[in-house]
Every structure is written in C-alpha cells, then in structure tokens.
C-alpha cells in the first residue's frame, strides 16, 4: 500500500494529491452520480463571486488542437445561493473543500472570504487572480505584483484557513508572482490558470469565441505548465499545486517531478469523467514498481 497522504504546509492535509480544478467540477454535487467524488483528496469549487453572474454571451467555448478555449466569464450562483444550495453536499463530503473566490475589487474578495471563513466545513480557499475572461478584476490581480501583494496580505489577515493563490501563465516571469504570494503569507500557489488563446473562423472571419481572446486549457498547455512549475519551484518553498492538461497518471508523476506537491484535474473531466479512477490506479502501480513508499518523495526530483 502506497502512502498518498499529502501535506500542503501546516494548514491542509489531503488523503491523496489529486484535487479538482475550479470550473471543471461544479460544486461537487453536479456529477457525483457519475464520478466518485470521495476518490479525490479534495474539491476546488467553481469560482464564487459576491453576486451571481450570468457569464459571457455565446459562443463561450471552442475546441482547438488537444485543448479548448473558454470564455465563460465566471458564470456562477453567487456566494449566498452557494451557501443555501451547495453546503449540505459539501458538509458530508469527506475530502477537503476548497472554495475558489473571484472578485472585481479587493473589497469583493475580502467580503466573500469573511462570509465563508467562519464555516467549519470549508477547509481552505483558492484565490482566482488569473481569470482572463472578465473585464474588471481577474487577471490584473495576478499579473501586477503590487496589486497581488496587497490582496494576498488582506486575505491572509482575514483567515487562518489554507490560502492558495492561483497564478496566471500570462506573465513574463512566473517567479515574480510566485515569490510575491509566498512573501505575503499564502500557504500555497496553484498553477497554471488558462493561457491566452484565440481562434478565428476562416469563412466568416469572425472569432470563434465571444470575447475574441479566451483561456486555453487541456493537454495543449501541459508543457507550459511544467515549464512554469520548474521555474517557480526553484524560488519558492511553499507547496505548488500543479494544473494544466493533466489527463493520465503519467502526467501527475511528471508534474510532481517538476515540483508540484499536488495537482488538479481540470479539462479532463469533460473528455474522461472517470480519469480519477485510472490515475489513482496508475500512481499505486508506478510507486510500487519504483519502490516509492510515499508519493511525496518524488516532489521536485526531476533532474533539471
């Protein structure tokens, strides 16, 4: 039996290093009839905003080689309805519950965190400072170090729970936001959010996505994620949660070798809803074949 327990700093421990990525698993209850949610170390919810959001006009998604571009625009039910409708399911969930928060201003992020940090069934927060699909807020929080450090400090002061900042790859050097978040007291960083992407219909000459530029995800971005994790791992000590096109067990090992302590499954939920079963089985096999007693032993072991 391989030890898959994963400690993410002092504030959060997982039964295994696999989480869901925000926006690809709803609030946990939506596909629990198909996928065994208890197989994950935890759920990261769809982004919550203070007020409900309708999201962007269509077309919101387009399939691209080994990936997809989305421009959903943070469509979500808002924090009040979330507490009303989704809490019951998450309260009895045995894995960890991490709430993804998005806002347009520092005030909005702080208000949501204040509302939720008192809930004892919530284990932590992931801060979305990297959504490329909203006109205000979103990505600018993650790409400007000054704005990022202000926000991270304010949120740190408001909660003793696990606080993770989700970083954007749409920067010149990921090491800068990674170091900033560590310095400001975050417990972990998750990376990467989607990569800027676009696609054009050659017949109509129109963009295939409403906002022209959206966020690329899926296997197409996996090498970008690996490169960014290798870079960030060299400069920060807080855990890195790897995200970006993970489809198979082999990918999880690769992310961990690059420096990730845990990973999130995202777009794969759309094309292989049962990926978690295959991945956990692979991790067991890989570890026993390679005489690895604890999965954590491989973190950052890539010879780079």
């Amino acid at each position: 039996m391989i030890d898959l327990n994963t400690k993410l700093g002092n504030r959060l421990s997982l039964s295994n290093p696999i989480l869901t990525a925000s926006g690809t698993f709803g609030y946990g209850d939506e596909i629990s009839d198909i996928v065994d949610v208890e197989l994950y170390g935890g759920i990261v919810t769809k982004s919550l905003t203070l007020k409900p959001r309708e999201g962007n006009p269509p077309p919101r998604i387009v399939e691209t080689p080994s990936g997809m571009i989305n421009s959903i625009g943070l469509a979500n039910i808002g924090v009040d309805l979330f507490l009303e409708e989704k809490a019951d399911f998450l309260k009895i969930y045995r894995g960890k519950v991490i709430i993804n928060i998005a806002g347009r201003t520092d005030f909005e992020y702080c208000e949501i965190l204040k509302l939720l940090t008192e809930e004892n069934w919530i284990d932590g927060f992931e801060i979305n400072v990297s959504c490329p699909n909203v006109s205000e807020g979103g990505i600018e929080f993650g790409t400007d170090p000054k704005i990022l450090s202000n926000l991270t400090r304010k949120l740190r002061d408001l909660t003793d729970k696990f606080l993770m900042i989700k970083l954007s790859p749409n920067v010149t050097d990921i090491r800068i936001p990674a170091e900033t978040t560590q310095k400001c007291g975050a417990d972990a960083v998750s990376m990467i959010n989607t990569v800027y992407g676009s696609a054009i219909d050659i017949n109509t000459k129109k963009p295939l996505i409403n906002s022209v530029i959206g966020g690329l995800s899926g296997p197409a971005i996996k090498p970008i994620a690996i490169a960014n994790i290798i870079k960030a791992y060299q400069v920060i000590d807080i855990p890195i949660i790897g995200i970006g096109g993970i489809s198979r067990g082999e990918d999880v090992i690769e992310f961990m070798l690059a420096g990730a302590s845990a990973v999130q499954l995202g777009t794969v939920h759309f094309y292989n809803p049962l990926a978690i079963n295959e991945i956990l089985q692979f991790l067991e096999e890989y570890c026993s074949q390679n005489n690895i007693l604890s999965i954590g032993d491989i973190i950052g072991k890539a010879e780079v």
């Binding site: 939506e30 596909i31 999201g55 399939e63 777009t267 094309y271 292989n272 809803p273």
Partner: protein, 263 residues
C-alpha cells in the same frame, strides 16, 4: 439515471448521403431513456478532445439508436466503426419532449436533416400510445433525406432543390399545410439553427404550442463547463442564459432567443 458505459457497436449503416444509423448496446439504460434526450460518445487519443453529443433516435431490445451525419473528422471516424467496435458512452443526458396535456391535439413533428433523430424516437413513443403524428422532414435534396417512408406517421417530405416532395424548406411546407391539420396542434421541432429560429417565430405568430430541441457545441454535456448557452426570455432580467445540455436540449419555443450566429 445517466451512466458512463464502455460498450460495443451493434450496427452502423448508411441510410442516406453522409448520414448513418448507429446501434449501440446499452441494456441497462434502454428502459429509462426518454425521447428528446441525448448521449455523449467519447473519443480516445484524438487531438479533438470534446465528446460528441447525439440525440437518441430510438431504442430496440438492448440497444440505443442514433442518427449522425458526417460533418467532421470525428463523425468520419464513426462512419468506419464496425460491429463489435468498443466505445465509451454516457447516457441518457438532458431533458425530454413533453406530451401535450390535452388529449385531442394533433401532434406535428418538424425535422430538418439529421434533426429527425429525436423526433423519430418521439414518433415511436406516440405510436405506442396509439397516436399517429404528422411528420414533416426536409433536406437539401432527396439523397440527404434520412427516411423516405414511414408506417408510424403521416409523412410529409420536402427538398430545397425540388428533387422530391414539396419544393422548399420544411417550415414553408408545414405552413402550407397548417390549414388542413385539425386544431389544436402541438408542434415539436429539431433542425439547424435557421430552421429552429423560423419555427420559434412561426410558433409565436400562430400562438402554437412548440417544443424545440437545440444543438450546441458542448465540452462536457453535463452542465459543468457552462459552455452551451441559449438566451432565455426572462421577466426578471434582461439577459438570462440556460444550458442546452442540462436545462435542455428541449425548450419551449416562446422562451428561447436564437440569434443568427449561433453555431
């Protein structure tokens, strides 16, 4: 209840130009499937990652039928599938057509091209109840008509190129016949966006009860990616989006707002 299954192809036959009927063995789902619902087919190791959604066109013994048209590389791959080929499916998904609450209505089904699929299943269900619906099917030309005769409906065919049946599109055909169909009518439509749009408009003009099954590009088919929106008229806000995969694919004609550039 929807289930993810690894199963096999039972039959895959060409029924018209570029149009195929695929029979998939899914015994434990067959009895719970309702007309209007769809299923996802998953493709392995392809640069195209999305599963493809298909309306369920009928059930037979242990099998589910779908009708598909070759429009891209995934459906082209499907056209080569032979008996016994293993595929992964998730079914059933989405909502279904609702029967009219009144007893003495004329059921009218309007199909454009492969939009015939969910309506064939609905026709089967009506026929089992002793109802013979009016079934209008339109295609570009006679070679693309998915069915040419039918014992379970009063069939009305039309082609854009005048090669068979009524000369013109299926909505015009239905309009021309509307006077001779006993009122009240309850109409069910599925076709390309332009046809659905024209039907929604006609439904409002004629104050007809209309249910439309919509098609959208979907990443998940499960209501989680939030990609397959349709604009819904709402009393409380200017703009409200519903998801075709979860809230649909069947919507009431009067509630949807279809724009020209929907894909």
């Amino acid at each position: 209840m929807r289930k993810f299954k690894e199963t096999g192809v039972v039959e895959n036959v060409k029924i018209a130009r570029d149009i195929y009927r695929l029979k998939i063995k899914i015994p434990d789902i067959v009895n719970s499937v309702e007309p209007g619902q769809f299923l996802n087919i998953y493709f392995q190791d392809s640069p195209k990652i999305f599963p493809r959604p298909f309306s369920i066109a009928g059930v037979d013994d242990n099998n589910i039928l779908i009708i598909y048209k070759v429009v891209g590389s995934q459906t082209e791959k499907m056209s080569y599938w032979q008996k016994g080929f293993k595929i992964k499916v998730l079914a059933p998904l989405g909502n279904s057509f609702e029967l009219d609450s009144e007893n003495n209505v004329s059921y009218v089904l309007i199909a454009g091209g492969v939009g015939v699929a969910p309506l064939m299943f609905f026709r089967d269900r009506l026929f089992l109840m002793g109802i013979t619906p009016y079934f209008f099917i339109g295609a570009k030309n006679r070679n693309e008509l998915p069915i040419a005769e039918d014992t379970k409906s009063k069939l009305y065919l039309s082609t854009d190129d005048r090669s068979l049946g009524f000369a013109g599109n299926v909505v015009e055909h239905f309009k021309s016949m509307l006077g001779s169909i006993p009122k009240p009518v309850s109409v069910y439509a599925c076709g390309p966006n332009q046809m659905n749009k024209a039907m929604a408009k006609l439904g409002i003009e004629q104050e007809m009860k209309l249910q439309v099954s919509l098609e959208r590009v979907m990443a998940c088919g499960l209501g989680i990616c939030q990609g397959c929106t349709v604009k819904i008229k709402s009393a409380t806000s200017d703009c409200h989006y519903s998801l075709v995969c979860k809230d649909g694919p069947v919507f009431k004609g009067e509630e949807i707002i279809l724009t020209a550039d929907e894909r």
